[in-house]
């Protein structure tokens, strides 16, 4: 099948004619002027059908019919963005690591969501286990049980992890973390050195577990008959009801009870308390601009920390009332030894300690599970502190 559909070949000529006609018509409506430069070639070029000409040009390997837009990409630019890794390892950079070096890195960067043993926390993805479950009622799909290619693991950790600090790991760290994930799945020994050279030695258990979309053969023909219109079933019974499960969100927008007054209706559909901080614009209150800046900076934190009404502990503790609070004091949150030690030493989150922690989290509290590289700019740290100060306990 041709890769170059000749879809718009016919449509082009009329378009050009219309434009030229309009041009002529417009010309007759104005006072005679000195002759205009002949633009017919330019118009023809611009109204030419891109698809046909372009694709003919591509097919011929020539430059004909191009627009001359854009600029050549520099090698450094391509190197910065073109980081994908193919199943055969093409695209892997030099480097190496094993599960032993990977374990502390995983603990620091990944365990907060994926668990210390890659077993997953809450609803976050489980990365290990599940072998032999794919045909079960509730298969557990992990790197070990499901992922067909190791390249995908390396590429994804390198490109998009840790969540909220993507592309902050060195190549060696990526090799080590990937080795730890493989080790957690019993796919390598803890001293196996994962590198460009050894990459293809790792067998992925589900590599042969995929088939290419076969709906055309298995479904389309069977489901293309003229459908039944009358007396298609002898009886119809309800076999399952969503209300029995009762997992639908409460605020589903269904109409409020009929007969209630309008005020009740409004309150029933009220989207609920806003997450906006109750910025106190009165004298002595926080600088609204700084708070607004802080709200933007806080986006870097939102993956793990909640603030505002209903804020709960997630990967990180909620931060309502954090300013002025003792370190590691949110009930129900499992803090690292590092923060517990600071708490025992009597540390309190004030502007100074918070700034120090946010500048270099792992430097200030070695062993913290917060996998955030920190805020380099003092302005950002001040802004986020001002923003956090607007949330009371």
């Amino acid at each position: 099948m041709s890769k170059f559909p000749k879809l718009f070949a016919a449509a082009a000529i009329p378009a050009g004619v219309v434009l030229l006609a309009a041009y002529n018509f417009a010309d007759r409506m104005v006072t005679p002027l000195p002759p205009l430069p002949d633009r017919s070639e330019a118009i023809a070029r611009y109204t030419a059908p891109p698809p046909t000409q372009m694709m003919a040009a591509v097919a011929a390997g020539g430059a004909m019919g191009r627009y001359g837009l854009g600029r050549p990409a520099l090698p450094e630019e391509i190197a910065a963005w073109d980081v994908d890794v193919a199943p055969d390892g093409t695209g892997l950079p030099p480097g190496q690591g094993n599960a032993l070096t990977g374990e502390p890195l995983f603990e620091d960067n990944c365990a907060v969501c994926h668990g210390s043993f890659a077993e997953g926390v809450d609803n976050w993805p489980k990365l290990a286990g599940g072998g032999g479950t794919l045909a079960d009622d509730d298969p557990l799909k992990t790197v070990g049980s499901y992922w067909p290619y190791l390249s995908t693991v390396w590429d994804y950790v390198h490109r998009s992890m840790p969540f909220g600090a993507a592309q902050s790991l060195s190549d060696d760290e990526v090799y080590a973390i990937v080795a730890y994930i493989l080790y957690s799945n019993d796919l390598i020994e803890d001293d196996f050195i994962l590198s460009q050279e050894t990459f293809l030695e790792v067998d992925m258990p589900n590599a042969g577990g995929f088939i290419v979309d076969d709906r055309a053969e298995t479904e389309y023909a069977a489901w293309s008959a003229e459908p039944c219109m009358e007396n298609c079933k002898d009886s119809v019974e309800i076999t399952m009801r969503a209300r029995v499960l009762d997992v639908t969100p409460e605020d589903d927008g269904a109409p409020a009870p009929i007969g209630e007054d309008h005020a009740a209706m409004t309150s029933a559909t009220d989207p609920g308390p806003a997450d906006e901080p109750a910025a106190d614009a009165a004298a002595g209150g926080p600088d609204p601009e700084l708070v607004a800046d802080g709200e933007k900076v806080f986006r870097k934190c939102k993956a793990c920390h909640q603030v505002g009404d209903g804020a709960q502990n997630r990967s990180g503790p909620h931060l309502n009332g954090v300013i002025g609070r003792a370190v590691a004091a949110v009930e129900g949150f499992r803090y690292s030894g590092a923060l517990t030690a600071l708490a025992e030493a009597g540390a309190v989150w004030d502007d100074e300690t918070l700034a120090a922690f946010l500048t270099d989290p792992k430097g200030y509290a070695k062993g913290t599970r917060m996998s955030f590289k920190g805020l380099d700019k003092a302005d950002d740290r001040d802004a986020v502190a001002a923003y956090l100060a607007t949330f009371a306990e």
């Binding site: 170059f4 994908d84 298969p139 790197v143 969540f163 479904e219 389309y220 009801r241 969503a242 269904a254």
Partner: protein
């Protein structure tokens, strides 16, 4: 019964009964109480409304405050890598307003200025190129209406009726008019190799959400869009530039599109191996299941849009679409699939765009098991959920296009159910 309606629903039931009784009384006793909304001068008819510029860019009036995107909290670990749902139960026509069109992010909706936008075309090309946003505006433009459906739409319903509302069962879809440049124009500009079988596309966000697409599709109708419904793309839909991959699963519609690599093979990225693959009953999984098969749903009445007016004229309406062509016909059943009536398409079906259908009936107030069944111009007929399960088993997540049933009660309330 233990699974009975919530308090508000009970009140609703009483309300409906009362309203029906009231309507009957009004019909019987003509010229009873005059309507004060008519006989008394209302505030809005005597005072003044807002001047122009009261709202430089408007949101819907407050009375429509419940027509919003909603998420299902338990589905995902957080809202950053998550999904929400279009309120299709409350919309009509086919175009989805951007402000309530479902969102799916893998690492949050980023803010990327047009001035900071760059698009790289590299790989098997004569000249790897960088385009700015302004460069893209200088290529010949096209306009197309297409639906974008997440592959996981209705994914929570594989094992049975679960979520009670069309928004939640079928709301991972939107339909917009896009303005942009065909991808083939950009590929030609870079001198893409005619031998390359694939492209790899990725976004500028932290997830990058890379996907491989066969070159045939890339050259056919894939589209680099910068406007939707006439205005700039919303942040949550990939401002300033997203990929449009007509008829194919939404995950391929890469937002904040930053790079297109011309390749001789697929990358086998996370999103096309560990996710967006379909595990069958025997544990093997289908991959590259890109096309969204024909599907339909009655949007009203439905659990979030019950019948509030009692027996008499009733408009049944819904949406139908196919990722493999145009909708040619939609049938509606009132009795759980025993008998079918052909519905009316509001417009002739357009390829890979939503179709709106209507069926007007004189409702006698009795229970209904409402279903819709779509057909497209390939001859494909939307299957039942049981037909899907027979072929695929129960462990799929994606591509559930089975026929949906709403159980409409005498009260007008509706519930998501499955039928034999």
């Amino acid at each position: 019964m233990s699974d009975g309606p919530k308090t508000s629903r009970r009140a609703f039931l009483r309300g409906t009964a009362a309203a029906a009784a009231g309507a009957a009384a009004a019909g019987a006793a003509q010229g009873a109480e005059p309507d004060p909304l008519i006989t008394e001068v209302q505030d809005w008819a005597t005072g003044l409304g807002d001047g122009v510029d009261a709202v430089p860019y408007g949101l819907p009036i407050e009375y429509e405050a419940d027509v919003i995107r909603r998420n299902v909290e338990w589905l995902t670990a957080d809202t950053i890598s998550s999904i929400n749902f279009t309120p299709i139960h409350a919309l009509d026509g086919t175009i989805t307003p951007q402000g309530c069109a479902f969102e799916r992010h893998h690492s949050g909706a980023i803010e990327l200025r047009k001035e900071d936008y760059r698009l790289m075309i590299n790989g098997l090309v004569e000249t790897p190129l960088i385009f700015t946003y302004d460069d893209l505006l200088r290529f010949p433009r096209e306009n197309h209406v297409y639906f974008c459906e997440c592959a996981a739409n209705s994914g929570m319903e594989w094992a049975g009726a679960q979520l009670n509302g069309a928004q939640f069962t079928h709301g991972m879809i939107h339909n917009m008019e896009y303005t942009g440049v065909p991808l083939r124009t950009l590929l030609a500009e870079a001198g893409a190799s005619p031998d390359a079988g694939w492209i790899y596309v990725e976004g500028a966000d932290a997830s990058s959400n890379g996907r491989s697409i066969p070159m045939d599709k890339a050259l056919d109708d894939v589209f680099v869009a910068f406007k939707a419904n006439g205005e700039a793309l919303r942040k949550e839909h990939g401002y300033p530039v997203r990929l449009v991959v007509p008829g194919w699963e939404g995950n391929l519609w890469v937002k904040w599109l930053r790079r297109v690599e011309v390749m001789d093979r697929p990358v086998e990225s996370r999103e096309e191996t560990s996710k967006y693959t379909d595990t069958l009953a025997d544990g093997t999984s289908r991959k590259w299941t890109w096309a969204m098969d024909a599907k339909s749903v009655v949007t009203s009445p439905s659990p979030q849009a019950p019948i509030t007016h009692g027996p008499g004229p009733l408009v049944i309406t819904g949406l139908a679409w196919s990722g493999r062509g145009a909708i040619t016909r939609v049938d509606v059943s009132l009795d759980g699939g025993a008998n079918w009536i052909q519905a009316r398409l509001a417009q002739p079906g357009q390829k890979m765009a939503l179709s709106r259908f209507y069926l007007e009936i004189d409702w006698d107030g009795s229970e209904m098991l409402l279903q819709a069944r779509a057909m497209d111009d390939t001859g494909y007929v939307q299957p039942t959920k049981d037909q899907l399960r027979e072929v695929r088993g129960l462990n799929s997540i994606y591509h559930n296009n089975g026929i949906q049933t709403w159980w409409v009660r005498e009260t007008g309330e509706a519930e998501n159910v499955e039928v034999s």
